[in-house]
Structures are given as C-alpha cells and as structure tokens.
C-alpha cells in the first residue's frame, strides 16, 4: 500500500504529514444585501420576537413562625426521587429538633417533575397544610 493511501485510511492528511502547505481558498467578504441609507449605515429586518410579560401574582402571606405548623415537602423526582428523599429526611430531622411541635409530610409527585399532582394538592387542602417546600432540582 502506498504511503498516501495508508495515511488517508488512518484519517491523516498526507499533505499535513508531508509538510506541504495547504491554503484555504480566500473569498471576498460577501456584500450585505441590505438597504443602504447613504451614510454607511444599513437597515435590516428585526429577527427578534418580544416576550409577553407574565401576569403578576403576589406571594401568599408568610408564617409567623414554624411552631406547631404542618409543612409539606414535595419531592418533584428530578432525575429520580432518591436525592430529594434523602434531603427531605435530613431536613425533617433538623426541623423537628428545633420546632418540637412541627409536623412534616414528604410526598413524591406521581406526575414527575413537570406535572402538578392533584392528589397531593387535595391532601394538603384537606389537612390544612400551613406551608410547603418544593424541590429539589439540580
């Protein structure tokens, strides 16, 4: 097999190995087919599409404290439920050490990270939850 063919099969440019200069073909910069306005400036169309701002909603009133409160911890199963469950477990321990009357409930969403699980919302309403922590993504 000749050297050129062997190098080509190996994916190596024979020109590169041989030290032969390989020049890119130069081409003139294409002229902008835009509308000149006479002073070197041109006018072009606007590709951008404006975003519509979202309707604003206020936050719900905050809690005065966490004593004797019922807090739901909602695990969105971001790349699976395990990490969120570990984290919420540790968070529960921390809260219960400092707020003896606090109650926490950890719930894994059945609809994955993008859905709103109506069963959880229904349960929270029925149990009169005082607040929620939603996560954990990342």
């Amino acid at each position: 097999m000749n050297r050129r063919k062997m190098l080509a099969l190996l994916g190596v440019s024979p020109a590169l190995v041989g030290g032969s200069p390989v020049y890119a073909r130069t081409s003139a910069k294409p002229a902008p087919e835009s509308s000149p306005i006479g002073d070197g400036r041109i006018t072009v169309m606007n590709p951008g599409i404006s975003n519509k701002l979202a309707t604003r909603y206020p936050l719900a009133p905050p809690l005065d404290n966490l004593n004797n409160k019922l807090i739901y911890m909602i695990n969105l199963s971001w790349e699976g439920p395990d990490a969120g469950n570990y984290f919420y477990g540790a968070m529960t321990e921390w809260l219960q050490r400092r707020y003896p009357g606090i109650k926490t409930v950890v719930k894994v969403t059945a609809d994955g990270m993008f859905g709103l699980d109506p069963a959880i919302l229904k349960e929270m309403t029925a149990n009169k939850a005082d607040g929620a922590i939603v996560g954990v993504a990342g």
Binding site: I37, I42, P47, A54, R56, A60, P62, L121, M124
Partner: protein
C-alpha cells in the same frame, strides 16, 4: 417547581418555597418569573450537582449554606417561609408588553453583526443580514401571508408568536433560497429545537420528490457538510429555533454540555431510490403517500457509529442490537440510519422483508439490565412517575434486581429505520432519536 409553588400559594393561601441548585434558581427567579410564572417565588439554593450524589452529600447540604445568601441553608429556609412580604412580592395584575418593530434602527454592518450576536439570534457562523429586499424575495416561496402566526411558543414562557415573516428572516440569515422556503416553514412548525439541561438535539429527515427537486443529498456524505440544501435547511431550523425560542446561553438555554448536532440538526434526505423492495420510505410508514413531500423531526441525544462495515462472521443486526443496549430507550425511541447496502444485506441475507420486521426484531432482542435502564437520569425523570402510578411494565421493572435483563424497546413502532448514504461502505448508525409524525411541506407552499 415554580408552578407548584405558585399553585399552592394561589389555591391554599399558604407560603410555598422552592429548593434547587443555583443554576435552576437563576432561571426560575429570572426568565421564568418574568415571562411565565409571574409570581416571585422565594428560593433557597443547594450546591450543584444534587442528583446522583451519595446520600451523605445530599444530607450534608442541609447543614451547609444557602448558595444564594451565603447564610446557613436551614436559616434561609425558615426566613423564606416567615419573612414579611416586600412591596415587589405583593404586585399583581397584567403587565404591558412592547410591540416589535419590523426594522432595526439603521447602523453599520459591523455593529449590526455584533447586535445579532449579542441578542443570540445567530449560530455564530457568518449570516446573511436580512434586508427587507431579501426577506421579501424569500416570502415568494410561499403563498402564506407574512403576518400569519404559525405557532406561539411558550415553552419557557413569553408567548412569542412566530410569523411567516420571522421564519423568512431566519431563512435568509441561514443562507437559504426561496425554493427552500416552504420546507423551512413546515420545519418551523416543529421549532424550537431541543432545549434541556441534558444535551438534547434534533434530527430532520426529508422525504418525497422535494428531496430530489431541491438537490438534497441522500447519497455519499449525506450526513456531512457536502450539500447546500442539507446545510442551509438544517441551519435555518437552528436560527429560527433560537429566534422564536429566545434561546440564550445561561438565560434560558441550560444544557451542561450542549450538542454540536444543533448546528445542523442532522438534516438529510432518505435515499428512497435505493430502498430494497418492500422497505417503505419513512413518510409512507407514517401514513403519507409516496408523492407527498414530508419533513420529519425527532428529538434525541445519541448517535453511535458502526465505524466499519459489516462482517460475515457476526450479523449486522446483531451488532446493531449490541450497540442499542447503550441507548436509554426513553420512550422506546430509536432511529437506525443505514447505507442502502446495509438495507440490502439485511433483506437479502438476513431475511428482513420490511423495515417493520427489523423494528420488531430489535424490540424483541435488545436487552439491558434493569440497573442500567434505571441508572439514567432521563429515565428516572420520565419513567419513574409511570412506575409510581402503577403503569406496566415500569412498575414491575422498578422492582427487579439490578442484573435482571429487560427489553426496554417496548414499541416497535417507535424504532425507525431510515436509509441514506452513497453505497460506498456497509456502515450505519444507531441513534436514540424519536421521530415525530412528519409535516407535509406542500401545506406551506
């Protein structure tokens, strides 16, 4: 996450806060709040990465610091649940939006090029600046009115309206010609391209007489940079996607690694002339007529090359099967791209009389361990919810020991086979792209 926190607060009038790593929080409190959610949800941030870590790492984050404020994480949680509302957090009502101007303010070519790059409207390769004259010329490629809205994009919020004229602007920027335009319009109905924290990408397949009429390359180097239609139509999908998706790096485009597929979106035509008898073109398999012109778009991440040609000592479909074990099988999706010589070999030597027979064989014969299947984050995000709802086979698979083999490609109909290439070598790719039903190009002529 912000939707959950918003829904709880609206429905129950109790505080709900979010916890995520700082990259997610940045998006949630910025772009998402402004254009989608509208509620200034309070967040606390854990270090990244969060998922896939040993338990001790995730547990340790609780005694660590909030990545936003620098204070102890649990102190930040308490504060987020109990701090009085600020004036900003009490705002309600609709906001005014600014209308788009059709033309940009006059400027030098150099400044306009910088502006286009600053706005993230390009792929950072050289573009044709979209003069009104060129855009008007492009619009001659369709009978549709320039102000017709073909799609409203709200994936990341903002309700951006994609008009025929905006697609024409993107087509000019990509270097396309008016004869490409109806195809690009049909393609634009599938915009924007994949946008995920993962390296989601797209595949664009052209079928029907239009492929030949526009000189699409379905022969030698069909997937390489050797054909203007393949190049500019694929690129137009990128540019239109970036424009209509308002996709900007670290603003609302968050792929950790990104994907070089997104420069061209694997745009190619099927080599219909060289399909073995009985092997229908992709669009015919989808229910279109052979004479229909169709563009099909798929979402995926992965492409594995055969590297070399087929060998008689190990059947080609066996090797494809082996390589397919590496795919996630998310949604049971796969697309096998193969040279016409491979299709002929699979039919004549191995007896696959149709593409469907081959797809069914893969569905029955590709196996992977349950551990490998569940070990993927996308599967965890998409299939665990099915398992938790008791849907089969996911519920049963989730209970299996790690080493148990499962057949993850449950649906032969989502295993596509597309033939392209120049009959130079018996090479092929297995990919995890899931092709959606195609769009008729002539509807956009």
């Amino acid at each position: 996450m912000s939707r959950w926190a918003k829904q709880i607060q609206l429905q129950m009038k109790v505080p709900a806060i979010g916890i995520a790593s700082s990259n997610i929080v940045h998006y949630a409190t910025g772009y998402d709040f402004k254009y989608s959610n509208g509620m200034p949800v309070r967040y606390v941030a854990v270090p990244f990465p969060f998922t896939g870590q040993p338990k001790a790492v995730d547990v340790g984050y609780v005694s660590g610091k909030d990545m936003l404020s620098g204070q102890p994480l649990m102190a930040a949680v308490i504060k987020a649940l109990t701090d009085p509302l600020t004036a900003e957090e009490k705002i309600s009502g609709a906001a005014d939006g600014a209308a788009d101007s059709r033309l940009l303010p006059p400027d030098t070519e150099e400044n306009l090029r910088l502006l286009f790059e600053d706005k993230g409207w390009t792929d950072y390769n050289w573009i044709q600046l979209p003069s009104e004259k060129l855009v008007t010329e492009m619009l001659k490629g369709t009978s549709r009115k320039p102000d017709e809205v073909i799609k409203t994009i709200d994936i990341t919020g903002g309700q951006r309206q994609l008009t025929v004229e905006k697609v024409a602007i993107g087509a000019v920027m990509a270097g396309a010609s008016p004869e490409h335009f109806s195809l690009i319009l049909a393609l634009a109905t599938q915009a924007p391209f994949g946008n995920s924290t993962s390296s989601m990408a797209n595949m664009v397949v052209i079928n029907g007489p239009i492929a030949k009429r526009l000189n699409f390359n379905s022969g030698t180097n069909a997937l390489g940079p050797y054909s203007r239609p393949n190049a500019v139509v694929g690129r137009a999908f990128t540019i239109v996607s970036k424009i209509v998706g308002d996709l900007r790096n670290n603003v609302n485009a968050w792929s950790s690694l990104g994907s070089s597929f997104q420069y061209n979106n694997l745009c190619f035509a099927e080599n219909e002339e060289n399909l073995p008898e009985g092997w229908d073109p992709l669009h015919v398999q989808m229910g279109f007529k052979p004479t229909d012109n169709v563009v099909s778009v798929g979402i995926g991440w992965t492409s594995i090359s055969s590297v070399g040609g087929s060998q008689s000592l190990y059947p080609t479909h066996f090797l494809m099967r082996d390589y397919m074990r590496s795919l996630t099988a998310s949604g049971s999706a796969a697309t096998i791209l193969m040279d016409p010589t491979v299709a002929k070999l699979l039919k004549d030597t191995h007896g696959f009389q149709t593409k469907q027979q081959l797809s069914e064989w893969f569905s029955q014969n590709v196996e992977k361990t349950a551990g490998s299947y569940w070990g993927n984050g996308v599967i965890q995000s998409t299939a665990v919810p099915f398992a938790l709802q008791g849907l089969e086979p996911y519920a049963s698979w989730r209970k299996l020991p790690e080493e148990t083999l499962i057949k993850p490609f449950t649906n032969p109909g989502t295993i596509r086979v597309v033939v392209t290439g120049g009959k130079i070598q018996t090479t092929w790719f297995v990919t995890d792209f899931g092709l959606r039903r195609g769009v008729k190009v002539d509807d956009w002529a």
